[in-house]
Symmetry: C2
Subunit: 176 residues, 2 copies
């Protein structure tokens, strides 16, 4: 059901085609929040349109269909956003790997932690660049804090935290 609202949320931010939405999922959305491929996205868009929560805003070249959210769609999104469920439900393969390290022999854990720390460093560098670019654009154009900027900041802080956690875990491992 979440995919429905992920799509609704992206379309509430701005109208887009299935193809453009797929790209959003490949980049920030699928990386931190909700993963989805085009084979699920297209059918779900059709269902959303059938339910009147989105509508075709424009039909462009190469069969491109740009959708926009409707008023009922906005209402449904708002309802979902403002009533979070009690139970948190997460599926994150990376974090799963972190958690299962207790099960590995210590040398493997150490190797894995070091790889994670290095990987995080790469992500952090990349995100810092992204943010610098976004802030430049924003200084000219912007009022409202854009979707990508929120995501990038979240990503940066998340990777910093993960790296620090890995450093902590490594230190605890070494001290035993």
């Amino acid at each position: 059901m979440s995919l429905r609202y992920a799509l609704l949320g992206l379309l509430a931010y701005e109208p887009a085609s299935g193809y453009a939405l797929t790209k959003s999922f490949e980049h920030h959305v699928g990386r931190y929040a909700w993963q989805a491929g085009h084979t699920r996205i297209y059918p779900e868009l059709n269902k959303l349109a059938a339910d009147g929560l989105i509508e075709v805003a424009e039909e462009g070249a190469r069969g491109r269909i740009t959708y926009a959210i409707t008023e009922p769609g906005r209402a449904a999104l708002r309802e979902w956003m403002m009533t979070p469920p009690a139970a948190r439900k997460v599926r994150d393969e990376d974090v799963l790997r972190l958690f299962l390290m207790s099960a590995l022999p210590p040398e493997d854990s150490r190797r894995l932690l070091k790889a994670i720390i290095e990987d995080c460093a790469g992500e952090i560098d990349e995100l810092r660049d992204t943010i610098a670019m976004l802030d430049e654009d924003c200084a000219e154009a912007g009022e409202r804090l854009p979707f990508g900027r929120l995501a990038a900041e979240y990503g940066l802080r998340t990777y910093e935290t993960r790296r620090d956690w890995a450093l902590w875990a490594l230190a605890r491992l070494e001290s035993h």
Copy 2:
């Protein structure tokens, strides 16, 4: 496929019954790393046993079946752990809500951010208590850093980061 390795990882840490594993998922594992209910766990355990990656270690009261990982199971787990895929795949409904805030009218965003900050504060308090208890037990018993301690530390840092991010987002929202 990840559930398979989640189970293998937990059983590599220590033998357990399907019921006990289900509880692990309800608590730390499902909260941060990988969600799963008993209706998926039991069939997957049977499949793992059929594949020889785990074995029945003990049959106890009320039909309880305690499983233990086998050597092939350990090898399969290690292989999976040490070769993370390039693409990160995440499904986290909470984070999705954070991301979609750009799509809400500013007053709603503000309300939601404040609710998130409060919620994080609650989680942080709870996790601090958990960690204090774990560290007490560990001081007596312990050498290797236990599974739950890793998870609790990760959880604590994650919630602190999320709270700080929400505070940052709120400040940016107010300044416009």
